[in-house]
Symmetry: C3
Subunit: 349 residues, 3 copies
Amino acid sequence: MGKSLKELAVYLGGRVIGDDSALVQGLAGLDDAGEGQITFLANPRYASKVATTKATAVILPPGADGHGRNVIEVANPYLAFAKLLTLFHVHPPQFLGVMEGASIGRDVSMGSDVTIYPGVWVADGVRLGNRVTLYPGVALYPGVTLGDDVTLHANVSIRERCRIGNRVIVHDGAVIGSDGFGYAPDGAGYYKIPQIGIVVVEDDVEVGANTTIDRAALDVTRIGRGTKIDNLVQIGHNCVIGENCMIVSQVGISGSTRIGTHVTLAGQVGVAGHLTIGDNVMIGAKSGVPGNLPPNGMYSGMPAIPHKEWLRAMGVLGRLPELRKTVSLLEKKVEELEARLGARDPEPV
Amino acid sequence: MGKSLKELAVYLGGRVIGDDSALVQGLAGLDDAGEGQITFLANPRYASKVATTKATAVILPPGADGHGRNVIEVANPYLAFAKLLTLFHVHPPQFLGVMEGASIGRDVSMGSDVTIYPGVWVADGVRLGNRVTLYPGVALYPGVTLGDDVTLHANVSIRERCRIGNRVIVHDGAVIGSDGFGYAPDGAGYYKIPQIGIVVVEDDVEVGANTTIDRAALDVTRIGRGTKIDNLVQIGHNCVIGENCMIVSQVGISGSTRIGTHVTLAGQVGVAGHLTIGDNVMIGAKSGVPGNLPPNGMYSGMPAIPHKEWLRAMGVLGRLPELRKTVSLLEKKVEELEARLGARDPEPV
Amino acid sequence: MGKSLKELAVYLGGRVIGDDSALVQGLAGLDDAGEGQITFLANPRYASKVATTKATAVILPPGADGHGRNVIEVANPYLAFAKLLTLFHVHPPQFLGVMEGASIGRDVSMGSDVTIYPGVWVADGVRLGNRVTLYPGVALYPGVTLGDDVTLHANVSIRERCRIGNRVIVHDGAVIGSDGFGYAPDGAGYYKIPQIGIVVVEDDVEVGANTTIDRAALDVTRIGRGTKIDNLVQIGHNCVIGENCMIVSQVGISGSTRIGTHVTLAGQVGVAGHLTIGDNVMIGAKSGVPGNLPPNGMYSGMPAIPHKEWLRAMGVLGRLPELRKTVSLLEKKVEELEARLGARDPEPV
């Protein structure tokens, strides 16, 4: 039932040091792993644990001390561990077909091997790719398109005409395509601006639980290929998010903002509307971004400033009262000095 | 199939300059509009685009240069554009009746022309007005009341006895009437205080996706007429929100706070509990409000202070370390001065 | 139909002063209570209202002036009021069984007296305790376990193999067990790390509406006994939350952080990942916690510092521009003084 280190090394593109016929049935962390399990060292800080782990084998980076253990050497042990987790624990979804209690509209097209659980609503004109899995409570409004290998977890809602790419995973309760927050003041109150655009979610995107992504007013809110979005994130209408971004939990991005590729927004960050954020920018947790940012910097604070400046400013912040006292004292001393000098120096300056 | 500029001008209460028989089939922005479409100029910054747009007609404010194009002149072009979007794109909801797979309790009263999709739960004693649309997964707990022309999107939950007014729209996954967060410490842990009040949502309110509004402990949490609430907003128990407020995404309002009319809370704002916020107050994004605020001001920061003071303070913030260095240097110089003066001036002061 | 003060005093462990046969049918606040109702005084500030309330009886702490009213004297009037609310308003859930339109998988075990509404999905291998109530749209993925007296409100999702203790309440739309946010960069983009752990929610926990709690990567995300979690909270993978914590709305806790017992996180707080927060710590609203915190302190700000220091610093913040001006002025004056002294004192120092 297990797999040999030789097989695993081939799968990972690494090489075995030690007994390549040793069998492995599963994975665990350095501390928890036992006989028949493989573990990994990603952080050099824990290198000494390689000597004491009870694992059958250890995944190590080139040059690390194997302490005589069975080793699979790879360039990126963390990535290799993730790949083995997939190998051992992620199975292709079962094909259960359209189950009783699902509600399927007219003019719906479906690929092969779909699974549609009870309580799913697929409205008129929806198109589903191959190997799509729709968990209970999923609502696909009219005209929605899903690619291949899409998984929508329980109670996900995809609104009218939105388009979801291939291999997209959406976690429970997320909403894609709700109306953008747009109103025109009409003197008395607010007049709703119809939101007639859509959301396009490109391939390999993952969307966290209870996250909300609003449809565009007129055209498209876009989530770029490979971008990962955590739970409870808000993305406003007309936003364009680039490829391979990491958007951590509870981030909010206001409408019409454009985010480059490979941007990281840490937890609870807020980004104002109508901005352009360059490629490879990183924004520290809880920061607020009020203006455009060029590529490649790291920023923090509210309003966000270069991260290093923010760190220095925050170091002083707690000592502000002390600083203020010092300044008051200086004022008094300078006055005194002026008085004393003035006394001896009666002529006007 | 299109509408003449003459018809549209009547609808908007404006006047045509140019060919009032020209036909329009749809709308688009200044850059994207083409033959048969109407566009608008709201921001004077883009006035030069009026000359180059390919649109059949442009909606302009009084006095703007039409560059010889067909023009509909109105006081508020943005509002006019919103009204035309509604005219062209928003159709009265279809009347589909109670569809198979919906679950309807006892003693439920319904107005005419309702649409109830599969997977909706309408509990005992619920009252629905005319032209109500309930999308799949909507849960109406016992005793809920909805007015006329209410639309509840997929997986919205309205808890026991809450009352929703006319023309209210609630987006997917929003929860109205969950228990307020109330506990009494009992020495060992926390004893739950039953939340027996309700939520009242008045006419013309819109509630965003996955927003949560808690029921009152004893009486009523109230959302005033015309107020618009964005996605992922939290409103605590016993809050009273005035009319025509704008509450942007991820705002949190703690329990028992009273918000006036026409208040704007920008994204990710937090308001503490048991406060009173006056009419027409604006709170900047990410700010935290720890105390009462009188009407008509703009505030920012955490804790929130008048917006202009906050802007000035933030301007200094990044230069704090520099300021601290300057003060240290001054201290040294003043000491030196004192020493030098003291040396020449031996008698005690 | 009412209950006598004598009965109520026994129920509360208090004593009656006045007419212990007086009958009470319900409860209300000091201002609103009328004939046949009982009210309470928790805040001494409102003590004078005891004289004027129209209530039939008042719950008072020892030593408070009853103004001749019927009184039940107890150590903690607020807790007593909560207990009477429960007595008068919270009824044991009705046993309705598995209703038509629910979908129950194979190998499901159920205790006695469960209620499962239409539109609930109970997957294969789920175990339900006694007196479990599942509202419409609840999704229990394969292998989920619920204890006794659990209530899951509409559209709650509990993912694969998660375990929920006794007397747990989960409000509408909350998601327990969604995948943690874990990816390994693979050069091109991000490789998803399978999240194969679970969430364990211990006894007497309450989870707010649309809150999300991620499953662990390998082992367990744990919510300790008696902890109360408000709406729209995010708890990352591998977190361990202690017993009897209060986690207020819109808080975010990053992955692998350990929170002690009896910790309070106020609204919109963010806690970074891989931290340890000691017992009895309180974090002020909107604060950000970047590092470990020892037990028993109160902290505020972003980054969080001891609360008193933060209050003092915030007091200065608004006056920063003024402080900066003062320092500039001092610089000039000191320069002047130096010049004057230098003029009289030509020899080098």
